[in-house]
């Protein structure tokens, strides 16, 4: 019973997901066949989720430690553009000079450098994380747009692009489970385990919940924060590359979708508290991710939303969902606070009656 009580919010979110999924499957029925409940639609939904999911993990860890990185999208954009440009370099024989694994490592090094810069700004110069990363965000996106002149860089390395194409398991002859989604789910699973069962995972919660107490307990806050910034940036690069593998290009279109912002919304929806700390692990955040992506993606399958005059609603919904998620976060935090006060009162009364 206490399990249900504890996981009440997550169960609600799951139910909502089922409802949205069912509605979308029904309304998209045309000629007796559902367009939403079919191989291609599910596959592209899962593709969208796999890049967003990886980026969500890094963001969720940062949020739990009470920090944030709003430049995640533009970092990943800079990373994938560098990646695509590296792949285009040819050697004297006219063949590709750099294998994509090496290109990935070079880009990862860039990400680490960026993360170290952020850590320096936030920990040494004591800038607020959100304002420092907003400032650097415009630097990265400015450089990326200037480098590509606002256009796209094609990626046609077969071994890399195939990774984005491959899917397994089929519904009616069409496969729907992309390999990328399996990788993404595995990463989320590993981090969820890490957060609960390792010492470092507990430290993240502690730093977020009460930095002063964490310092007194002997935790090096700067170190934790630096590791999380690096972790976020590298995961952002991986998420960005998943997007590129499936679109076969690097383009500024990547950051207009703002996958890390929707990842953040999903994490907050799933119970990762914005104030740092918070009891829910990545399980709730994963459910939030599935719910949010299904909802926004299924909007395309509602007959009315295909009309252009509903564009405004889709723009508005992004903000509204974030506000609703935050209100849920705030009310549950208030409830937890009340429960704690009640429990303390009870304990005091019990002690008094004993005396």
């Amino acid at each position: 019973m206490s399990f249900f009580k504890k996981q009440f919010k997550t169960i609600c979110l799951l139910l909502l997901f089922v409802i949205f999924f069912a509605i979308a499957s029904v309304v998209s029925i045309k000629n007796g066949k559902s367009a939403f409940l079919a191989g291609p639609a599910i596959r592209s939904l899962l593709f969208q989720m796999s890049a967003g999911g990886v980026m969500m993990v890094g963001m969720a860890c940062l949020l739990m430690s009470g920090s944030i990185d709003l430049s995640t999208d533009s970092q990943a954009l800079l990373g994938i553009i560098l990646f695509a440009k590296l792949l285009q370099i040819k050697n004297s024989a006219g063949n590709a000079a750099i294998p994509w694994g090496v290109a990935f490592l070079i880009c990862a090094a860039l990400m680490v450098a960026i993360a170290l810069l952020h850590s320096f700004l936030c920990n040494k110069l004591r800038f607020m994380p959100f304002i420092a990363t907003i400032a650097t965000s415009s630097v990265y996106s400015g450089i990326s747009t200037w480098w590509t002149s606002g256009g796209t860089v094609a990626i046609n390395r077969a071994s890399f692009v195939n990774l984005g194409k491959t899917s397994i398991l089929t519904i009616g002859k069409q496969s729907f489970l992309p390999v990328l989604f399996i990788i993404s789910a595995a990463i989320i699973f590993i981090y969820a385990i890490m957060l609960i069962y390792t010492r470092f995972g507990r430290r993240i919660y502690l730093v977020g919940g009460n930095p002063m107490a964490a310092r007194l307990a002997g935790i090096n806050i700067t170190k934790v924060s630096t590791i999380l910034f690096v972790n976020n940036s590298v995961l952002a690069l991986i998420g960005g590359l998943m997007w590129s593998a499936q679109k076969k290009m690097a383009s500024v279109q990547f950051s207009t979708a703002a996958p890390s912002m929707s990842g953040m919304t999903a994490a907050i929806l799933g119970g990762v508290s914005f104030m740092g700390g918070g009891a829910t692990g990545l399980g709730g955040a994963f459910v939030g991710l599935i719910l949010l992506n299904t909802f926004t993606y299924s909007l395309n399958y509602y007959p009315i939303f295909t009309e252009q005059k509903w564009d405004w609603l889709q723009i508005t919904l992004g903000g509204l969902i974030l506000i609703i998620a935050l209100i849920l976060d705030a009310t549950s935090a208030q409830r937890a606070h009340r429960q704690m006060l009640a429990a303390r009162k009870k304990a005091v009364q019990a002690a008094a009656s004993k005396a």
Binding site: L121, L125, R126, F127, M128, F130, I131, A132, I134, A135, T136, S137, S138, V139, Y140, S141, G142, I143, T145, W146, G150, F274, M275, Q308, K309, D311, W312, L313, Q314, I315, T316, L317, G318, G319, L320, L322, I323, L326, I327, A330, T331, A333
Partner: protein, 359 residues
């Protein structure tokens, strides 16, 4: 004894003040851009009256954004939705005059009331639901952008979202030409037109607003409250100041200033555009921060904010003078913000060091 006296001399104090470092930064910026533009263009293209006129002309809109942002930041809050609110105001005036034949004063009044309503909504999210100000206002900003797309639709044509609304001559004739005359006066009237420096009407509005706000901040009880709430909210509450009330007023005020920025945006072009002010999300903030208003709240003033504004505008004009692409300008505006933050950090550390020394 003598040395102490010298230490406290006015000149010495001035050279140690933040205002001095700001002016130094402004001069440095002008010199760098002049030299850079000279090398690139083979002649003086930055240090001219023409640049000065352009700077004055483009200063009003970010100026009003900075005004609202500065007050909020002194009280320890932030509003990232002000640019969207301004864009919404500009679009609202255009749409209401064009489609519903509002008179000019009704359109402006409605736009300002709606702007204030958005500000109060921000304050509710921050004070009642205890959201972090930046995330609440960021979410609001995207909601407002959606509504902006909504009001820019033409109800008669049932057409897809329009990107700009221009007042058509028929509508202007229908209304007797009055809305345009007044709006044109706000947006386009220039004193000393044709001379070396033209003074637009709206810059006078801006300077008047800066003086009024500066006086409120320095001379009135409310101004003291703003500093107190920003410096130490707990202490403010203990001396009987209601931080919530101050926060509500300041969010509403920030949105109101953004609304005025929207009115001026509209009156300059007599258009509503769905991408208006998009590049100005952080110009107001950067200006205020450069002016010595720190993020923790409790410090800074309007004079500094005005010089901060001049620095950001001179920067934008300088990037134009050296023919930098707009993408590079975006990149460097981020760098400018980081410089502003670093100056804030350095001056705070110096202040702490001085306090520890007990001077």
């Amino acid at each position: 004894m003598n040395s102490i006296k010298q230490k406290d001399s006015k000149l010495r104090l001035f050279t140690q003040s933040k205002m001095f470092s700001l002016l130094l930064l402004l001069v440095l910026e002008v010199v760098v851009f002049t030299v850079w533009a000279w090398i690139k263009q083979g002649g003086n293209s930055f240090l001219t009256f023409k640049s000065l006129t352009t700077i004055i002309n483009t200063m009003t809109v970010p100026g009003f954004l900075a005004l609202g942002a500065a007050f909020l930041m002194i009280s320890g809050n932030i509003d990232l939705s002000s640019a969207s609110i301004g864009a919404f105001g500009a679009m609202f005036i255009a749409a209401s005059i064009q489609y519903f034949h509002f008179t000019w004063w009704l359109a402006i009044a409605c736009a300002l009331v709606i702007a204030i309503a958005f500000g109060v909504l921000n304050a509710v999210l921050v004070n009642e639901f205890r959201f972090q100000p930046f995330i609440a206002t960021m979410a609001m900003s995207s909601v407002i952008k959606g509504l902006l797309a909504f009001i820019s639709m033409d109800p008669k044509a049932a057409a897809p979202v329009a990107t700009t609304i221009t007042l058509s001559p028929q509508v202007v004739d229908f209304l007797g030409g009055s809305p345009v005359k007044i709006l044109e006066f706000i947006g386009k009237k220039k004193f000393f037109a044709g001379s070396a420096i033209e003074i637009p009407f709206n810059i006078i509005l801006l300077i008047a607003a800066f003086i009024i706000y500066g006086v409120i901040l320095r001379q009135t009880k409310f101004g003291m409250k703003v500093y107190l709430v920003g410096g130490n909210p707990m202490a403010a509450r203990l001396v009987g100041v209601n931080p919530k009330k101050v926060s509500y007023i300041l969010f509403a005020n920030s949105a109101f200033a953004a609304g005025i920025a929207g009115v001026i945006t509209h009156s300059k072009t007599l258009q509503g555009s769905s991408i208006a002010l998009q590049a100005d999300t952080f110009t107001g903030l950067t200006a205020a921060m450069l002016g010595g208003i720190s993020f923790g709240g409790g410090s800074g003033g309007m004079g500094g904010a005005f010089i901060g504004l001049l620095i950001t505008r001179a920067f934008a004009q300088g990037m134009l003078a050296i023919n930098a692409s707009s993408y590079i300008t975006t990149a460097f505006s981020g760098v400018l913000l980081i410089i502003a933050l670093s100056i804030d950090f350095a001056s705070q550390r110096r202040a702490t060091a001085r306090a520890i020394k007990g001077v």
